[in-house]
C-alpha cells in the first residue's frame, strides 16, 4: 500500500538578521528542520517527540503549509504540496487539517462556535445551503461530545477541554484525510487530556483518519500512535513502532528521552539510575558538524563529527541515525 503522505528531505530554514545589521549583510540561516524524511500509511498515527526547539511544530506547520519549506518534497497522495503555487495549494488544504496547542487562542473570540466550526466548509464548499451547513455543524458537535444547542455561544464561554473539542470539530468538518495535532493536550489538565485523547482515537478509528501527533509527553504519544519519530535539532534520530521505541530504544538520544519519563512511584523513581543529558540544545543557527547530537551524546566517538549519520534500517521499519546504536557491539567497548 502506498503511503498517504511521504515527506522527502524536507528542510525549513529561517533567515535571521542580527538586530542593527546592515540590510545588505547576508542573514544567518536558522535550520529548524533539516532533511527530514518519513512515510505515513493511510489510517496510521505517527507520533513525533522531541524536546522544545527540536522543530516538531515547524515540521507540522511546513506540512500544513503555514510556513514555507526551503527544500525537499511533501508528497500527499502523489501531489507535491511543497512546490505548489498558492492557489493550487489552497484547494489541497481541505484534506490536511490541524489542531493546535492552545485551544482558546485557536478560536476567533468574535465568532460564534457555529461559525467557527462551519468556516472550513463555507470556504471550500461556498454553495452549501445554510440549512445543510447548520445540520453538519450540529452532527459534528454531537460527534465530538458538545451539546449542539451551544452553537450560538462564544469561545470565552467554554472550558479548555471544550474549546479543544471545538477545534477538533472544525478540523473534521471537511472529512480530511490527514489530521495534524500539534501538542493538542499540553495545555489541558490530566483528566481532560485523557478525554481528548480518547476522543481523537475514536474519531481516528471511525473516520479512517491518518494522523500526525506531536507531543513532548512520551506516554501520551505511546498511547495514541502506531509509530513514533524522534526529532532532535530538526533531524530524525530514530523511527520505530511505538511499543518498540519505548521498550528498546536504540539511539542514545531516544534512550535518554525514555529514561527521563517519570515513574509514578516515588520509591522506584528515586532508586532508578538515570543517564543525565548534560548541556543545552545547541543553537540551530550554528548546528554541530556531523551528528547534531554529538555535543551531548554519552557515547560520542571521534568519527561522529565527520558526517551526518544516515538512517540505518534495523528491520521492522525501525530506523536509527546512529552507527553506534545499542545493537552494535562497539558500544560495549566504549564505557
Amino acid at each position: 500500500m502506498s503511503p498517504i503522505l511521504s515527506v522527502r528531505d524536507l528542510s525549513v530554514t529561517f533567515d535571521v538578521r542580527a538586530p542593527g545589521a546592515w540590510p545588505w549583510t547576508p542573514p544567518g540561516k536558522l535550520h529548524a528542520v533539516s532533511k527530514v524524511s518519513f512515510d505515513l500509511a493511510s489510517g496510521e498515527c505517527l507520533g513525533i517527540v522531541g524536546e522544545s526547539g527540536s522543530g516538531k511544530s515547524t515540521l507540522a506547520r511546513a506540512i500544513v503549509g503555514t510556513i514555507p519549506s526551503s527544500g525537499g518534497n511533501i508528497l500527499f497522495e502523489g501531489a507535491d504540496l511543497a512546490n505548489m503555487d498558492p492557489r493550487q495549494r489552497r484547494v489541497h488544504r481541505r484534506d490536511v487539517q490541524m489542531i493546535f496547542q492552545d485551544p482558546l487562542a485557536a478560536l476567533n473570540p468574535r465568532m460564534t462556535v457555529g461559525d467557527i466550526i462551519a468556516e472550513p466548509l463555507i470556504t471550500h464548499e461556498p454553495k452549501t445551503p445554510r440549512a445543510e451547513v447548520k445540520a453538519r455543524v450540529r452532527t459534528l458537535m454531537e460527534k465530538v461530545g458538545l451539546l449542539p444547542n451551544l452553537v450560538n455561544r462564544y469561545p470565552h464561554e467554554f472550558s479548555g477541554g471544550q474549546c479543544q473539542r471545538i477545534g477538533i470539530a472544525r478540523a473534521l468538518i471537511l472529512k480530511p484525510k490527514l489530521l495534524i495535532c500539534d501538542e493538542p493536550v499540553s495545555a489541558l489538565d490530566v483528566s481532560v487530556q485523557a478525554q481528548v485523547i480518547n476522543l481523537l482515537m475514536d474519531l481516528q478509528r471511525d473516520m479512517g483518519l491518518s494522523m500526525i501527533f506531536i507531543a513532548h509527553d512520551l506516554s501520551v504519544v505511546n498511547h495514541i500512535s502506531d509509530r513514533t519519530l524522534v526529532l532532535y535539532l530538526g533531524c530524525v534520530m530514530e523511527t520505530a513502532d511505538s511499543s518498540i521505541l519505548t521498550t528498546a530504544p536504540e539511539h542514545p538520544y531516544s534512550q535518554a528521552l525514555i529514561a527521563s519519563v517519570p515513574i509514578p512511584d516515588p520509591v522506584l523513581e528515586r532508586a532508578r539510575p538515570r543517564p543525565v543529558l548534560e548541556g543545552e540544545l545547541p543553537s540551530p543557527l550554528n548546528p554541530p558538524s556531523g551528528c547534531v547530537f554529538r555535543t551531548r551524546c554519552p557515547k560520542v566517538q571521534l568519527s561522529c563529527a565527520d558526517k551526518r549519520p544516515a538512517l540505518t534500517d534495523l528491520g521492522n521499519a525501525h530506523q536509527v541515525a546512529c552507527p553506534f546504536h545499542a545493537a552494535t557491539q562497539l558500544l560495549s567497548v566504549q564505557p
Binding site: 493546535f100 476567533n108 461530545g145 449542539p148
Partner: protein, 308 residues
C-alpha cells in the same frame, strides 16, 4: 470518560434543545458601557444635539439667510434673544436669526466630525490591517507612504487648497479625510501585528481561507474595539480642526455656517455686549465635544481587554 453520543442526545433533548444565545464580547461591552453613568448621559446629550441639528430647523421662524432689516442698527436692544420676536437665540450682526444659524452650524460641524471619523475608520483600518497582515516589504512601502503624508504640514496644504480651489464644504471634507486616516492606519497596523500571530489566524490560513477574507473576518473584527474608541475621540478633534479653519475665515462659505464660524463672528462682537452671539454657538460646541469625549472614555473602559 467520553460522553457517548446517545447520552449527549438525551441530555440535549431534556434541555429542550433550545439554542442558547451566547453572550458575545460586544454584548459584554455594551453592558459595561451602560453601567457608566457619565457615558450614558453624554450619549443622551449627543442624541439631543443631533436631534437639534436635524429637526431644529422646523422650530426656527426664519430662514438662516434671511436678513431682518428692521433690526439693523438696533441689534443691541431688538436683536436680543426673546420669544416675542421669535429670535430664540437673538440675531447675529447682520440681523440673521441666530437660532436657525446655530442649527445649521451644529449640523455642519457634526457632519465634518463624523465624515472625518468615518474616512479614518474605513480607509485607515483597512489600510493598516492590510499593511500589518502582509508585512515585510508591502508593510514597509505602505507605512513609509503614511510617514511621508504625515510629514507634510497639512494645515498649510489645506489652506492653500481652500485658497486655490475655492472654499467649499467638499474641499473641507477632502482635506479632513486626507489627514484623519493616517493615525488610524498606524494604530490598526500595530494591532494587526499582534493579532496576526494568534493561532486562529494561522488556522484560517491553514484551512485555505483567502487572505482578503482573513483580514475582513478575523482581523478587522478584533481591531474594531480600539478603532471605535479612537474614532469617537477623533470626532471632536475633527470638529475642533474645522472650527479652527473656519475661525481663520477659510472654512464653510456664507451663507452656510459652522460652529467655528459662528464663534468667530461672535467673538468679534463680544466687546459690544452682544454676548448671545458667542454664548449659544459656544454652548453647543463645548457640550458636543465634552459629550464625545465622555462617550469615548466610556467605550474605552467598556472595550478595554484588561477588564475582561
Amino acid at each position: 470518560m467520553l460522553p457517548n453520543p446517545a447520552t449527549v442526545e438525551s441530555v440535549a433533548e431534556a434541555m429542550n434543545m433550545a439554542e442558547i444565545k451566547g453572550r458575545s464580547l460586544w454584548a459584554d461591552a455594551r453592558q459595561r458601557f451602560l453601567h457608566n453613568k457619565a457615558a450614558v448621559v453624554s450619549l443622551i446629550i449627543l442624541a439631543l444635539v443631533g436631534a437639534f441639528a436635524l429637526f431644529g430647523g422646523l422650530l426656527a421662524q426664519y430662514e438662516n439667510d434671511f436678513v431682518d432689516f428692521t433690526l439693523i442698527g438696533s441689534n443691541a436692544y431688538k436683536g436680543v434673544p426673546s420669544l416675542e420676536t421669535s429670535h430664540y437665540f437673538g440675531t447675529d450682526n447682520s440681523g440673521r436669526d441666530l437660532f436657525a444659524r446655530t442649527v445649521q452650524g451644529t449640523g455642519i460641524s457634526l457632519m465634518v466630525g463624523i465624515v472625518g471619523a468615518l474616512v479614518a475608520v474605513v480607509v485607515g483600518t483597512l489600510y493598516g490591517a492590510t499593511a500589518g497582515y502582509f508585512g515585510g516589504r508591502v508593510d514597509g512601502v505602505m507605512m513609509r507612504i503614511v510617514d511621508v503624508l504625515m510629514s507634510i504640514p497639512f494645515m498649510f496644504v489645506l489652506i492653500l487648497m481652500l485658497v486655490i480651489f475655492g472654499r467649499s464644504i467638499f474641499m473641507l471634507f477632502l482635506g479632513i479625510g486626507l489627514i484623519s486616516w493616517l493615525d488610524m492606519a498606524r494604530i490598526a497596523r500595530g494591532q494587526t501585528l499582534t493579532i496576526k500571530n494568534k493561532e486562529f489566524v494561522e488556522v484560517a490560513h491553514a484551512t485555505g481561507v483567502h487572505p482578503v477574507k482573513i483580514i475582513l473576518r478575523h482581523i478587522v473584527p478584533n481591531l474594531l474595539g480600539i478603532v471605535i474608541v479612537y474614532a469617537t475621540l477623533l470626532v471632536p478633534n475633527m470638529i475642533i480642526f474645522e472650527s479652527f479653519i473656519s475661525f481663520l475665515g477659510l472654512g464653510v462659505q456664507e451663507p452656510a455656517t459652522s460652529l467655528g464660524a459662528l464663534i468667530n463672528e461672535g467673538s468679534s462682537t463680544m466687546q459690544y455686549g452682544y454676548y448671545w452671539q458667542i454664548a449659544f454657538p459656544l454652548f453647543f460646541f463645548v457640550v458636543t465635544i465634552f459629550a464625545f469625549f465622555f462617550v469615548g472614555d466610556g467605550l474605552r473602559d467598556a472595550l478595554d481587554p484588561k477588564d475582561r
